[in-house]
C-alpha cells in the first residue's frame, strides 16, 4: 500500500478513524509516522485545551483601549499630509532658487523635483502615521524587541 496523501494524514491527526489496512501501513511506515508526529504536535491533544474561558475573553475585551474615531482622524490626517507636501514643495523651491541652481536646470525639471520632494515628505509622514500606535490608555504590553 502507498502512503496516504497529506490531507488524509491530517484528518487522522485531527482524530478521524483509520481503516485497519491504512493503520497497518502507518505502523510500518517511518515517513507516515514522522508526518503524524508533526501533525499531532501542531494540532495538540484536544481542541478544548486551546480554548479560553469566557471570563478571560471578557477581561481582554474590557482591557482594550477605545478605537479611534475614523472621521476626525481622516480629516486631520488629510490636512497634515497636505501641509507636509506643501512644506516639502516650498523647501525644494527655496533650495533651488536660494542656491542659484535654477539656471542649471530647466524650470520644468525644478518644478518636477519640488513636486516630487513634497510627495516624498508626505509619504514619509503617512508611513510614520501608520506606524504610530493609537492612544491606548497605557494598558498595552511592552513592544517585543
Amino acid at each position: 500500500m502507498n502512503c496516504p496523501d497529506m490531507e488524509r494524514l491530517i484528518e487522522i491527526g485531527l482524530g478521524q478513524a483509520v481503516a485497519p489496512e491504512l493503520n497497518a501501513h502507518i505502523q510500518a511506515c517511518g515517513s507516515c509516522q514522522a508526518d503524524l508526529r508533526t501533525i499531532g504536535a501542531l494540532a495538540g491533544s484536544s481542541a478544548e485545551e486551546r480554548e479560553m474561558s469566557e471570563d478571560l475573553i471578557s477581561q481582554i475585551i474590557a482591557g482594550l483601549p477605545e478605537p479611534d474615531t475614523p472621521s476626525r482622524l481622516d480629516w486631520a490626517r488629510g490636512i497634515q499630509l497636505c501641509l507636509t507636501w506643501g512644506l516639502g514643495f516650498v523647501t525644494a523651491v527655496v533650495s533651488v532658487v536660494g542656491t542659484g541652481s535654477i539656471g542649471q536646470v530647466s524650470r520644468q525639471t525644478a518644478l518636477l523635483l519640488a513636486v516630487g520632494f513634497g510627495g516624498v515628505c508626505a509619504l514619509v509622514n503617512l508611513r510614520a502615521g501608520l506606524q504610530r500606535e493609537p492612544a491606548n490608555g497605557g494598558n498595552s504590553p511592552p513592544e517585543p524587541a
Binding site: 485531527l14 508533526t38 504536535a41 501542531l42 495538540g44 479560553m52 478605537p67 504590553p141 517585543p144
Partner: protein
C-alpha cells in the same frame, strides 16, 4: 472570512469575534511558553492586547491566523527570554547572599520541560516557514478549519493549500525528530 477593514478599525465587538475564531492558535503558542496557568493567562492577555494595538499593521495579503500566530510567537519568545534573564540574575544574587536554597523556585519535572522546549522549538520553526506554508498550517492544523475555509481565507485553491501544508510539514518534520526532508 475576516473583514480586514473592520478588524483594523478596532471595533470591540468584532475583535471579540476574532478572539473566538483564532483563540486556538494563540493559546497553543502561549501554552508552550507559560510556566504556570497564571503565566499562560498573562501571555494571552498581553498577546491579544498587542494584536489590538498592532491591528493596523495586518497586511491585506496574509491570513489573520498566520499573523496572530507569528505575533504570539514573537511576543512569547521575548517574554520567555526576559523571564529567563531575570531569573538568572536573581539566582546569581541569591547565591551571593547565601539564600539560594531558601528561595529556589520549584522546578517542573524534567520531562515536561523537555516537552515544552520541543514545542517552543516547533513554534519558532513554524514562524520561520514561508508565509503561505505557515498560514496554511496554522489555519488547517492549529485552528482546525476545513480545507475549503482555509482556501477561501488564503485566497488560493484547495490544491495549493494541500501542497503548502505538505511542504511545511515536511520542513517541520526534522524539528519533531522524524528526519528532515527536502
Amino acid at each position: 472570512m475576516v473583514d480586514r477593514e473592520r478588524f483594523r478599525e478596532g471595533d470591540h465587538q468584532y475583535f471579540e469575534e476574532i478572539i473566538r475564531d483564532h483563540q486556538r492558535a494563540v493559546k497553543a503558542v502561549c501554552l508552550s511558553y507559560g510556566e504556570s496557568d497564571d503565566d499562560v493567562k498573562d501571555l494571552l492577555q498581553e498577546v491579544w492586547a498587542l494584536a489590538y494595538k498592532k491591528r493596523r499593521s495586518f497586511r491585506d495579503d496574509g491570513s489573520l491566523g498566520g499573523w496572530l500566530c507569528r505575533l504570539a510567537t514573537n511576543h512569547c519568545t521575548d517574554d520567555y527570554r526576559a523571564r529567563r534573564a531575570e531569573r538568572k540574575g536573581l539566582e546569581g544574587f541569591k547565591a551571593r547572599e547565601g539564600l539560594r536554597d531558601l528561595h529556589r523556585r520549584p522546578r517542573d519535572p524534567g520531562e515536561e520541560l523537555d516537552q515544552k522546549e520541543a514545542e517552543r522549538t516547533l513554534w519558532k520553526a513554524l514562524d520561520a516557514l514561508p508565509d503561505k506554508e505557515r498560514e496554511a498550517i496554522v489555519l488547517r492544523l492549529i485552528e482546525g478549519r476545513p480545507p475549503k475555509e482555509v482556501a477561501d481565507e488564503m485566497k488560493i485553491g484547495k490544491a495549493s493549500v494541500r501542497s503548502n501544508i505538505s511542504r511545511g510539514i515536511r520542513r517541520l518534520r526534522g524539528i519533531i525528530g522524524g528526519g528532515a526532508e527536502k
